[in-house]
Symmetry: C2
Subunit: 137 residues, 2 copies
DNA sequence: TCCCAAGCTAACGTATACGTCAAGTGTCTC
DNA sequence: GAGACACTTGACGTATACGTTAGCTTGGGA
């Protein structure tokens, strides 16, 4: 590409699987498993996996999606939305619009469930605290 | 007990397993499974399960907890919090206070994750809509 | 009385998300 | 060159949450 930086490209930070695993607090097995599922596709250097900053961010996305209860198979579709942002064919845009709308709705429903549970938990929590303080006070 | 209502007790609504399953949109198998796990304990009438209104509400709680990604084994602990509300031994109160506090924190963390994901999804969604309208406009 | 629909238990099957060996390769270091 | 690691690819094991099938029991209507 004739970069103005020597070595032909911007010095991008690269990671081995151990580093990536440590950085994200997951096992190497987990990362390989995600690769099997097509969620991340690291480059290979003589058989060994080499991850870029982009891969790392992808992994963050995956883990966050997981933490809110999304299945890995859904996360795959989900990641495509991020990837396709730049494209512009009408079909693609409509696909993205529909999928994101559905996902947004689902997440907001989930938030409502969480809010209801939170309010109930807080009632129990506060009630217990009050009874405890009376018992002691 | 000596109630003032004939038949010795308030006429409580009772359900069979089929009714309960239909009402909550789950399978009978699911309900029996929850029973195996100790989440609900219906009365028996000649071997058959009979559910009260209380059991039904319990099931609602279970399903809501599940929908926000709580494991069944955790839901069990969770349900005890609702049940113990009335009790008052200091140990019990402290237990409830600690558990609810932890659960509240966890749920709020989850909400933050959802909010972040939502904002990203909305960016993608709005961006795609804008590009689509330009393409058509 | 006979039979069916509904319920019951028991047990095996399935999908998801990894954990955990096992066995081989590659590289660095002493 | 011999360990000692770090990495690789299978491949089997495990926990969770049910689905499904099989076979027995039972109450109620034709």
């Amino acid at each position: 590409m004739g970069s103005n930086i020597r070595d032909g490209a911007a010095a991008e930070t690269l990671y081995g699987i151990a580093e990536l695993a440590d950085a994200h607090g997951v096992s190497q097995r987990t990362i390989r498993f995600y690769e099997d599922k097509g969620l991340i596709s690291p480059r290979r250097v003589g058989g060994q996996r080499v991850y870029t900053e982009h891969d790392s961010k992808r992994l963050s996305l995956i883990l966050r999606a997981k933490s809110i209860g999304t299945k890995l198979s859904d996360i795959r579709t989900f990641l495509e939305l991020y990837g396709r942002e730049g494209e512009g064919r009408v079909r693609q845009l409509e696909f993205v619009i529909d999928k994101t709308a559905a996902e947004i709705e689902a997440l907001e429903a989930k938030k409502r469930q969480i809010d209801q549970t939170l309010s109930e938990l807080k009632l129990i929590h506060d009630g217990a605290r009050e009874r405890l303080s009376r018992r002691r006070g």
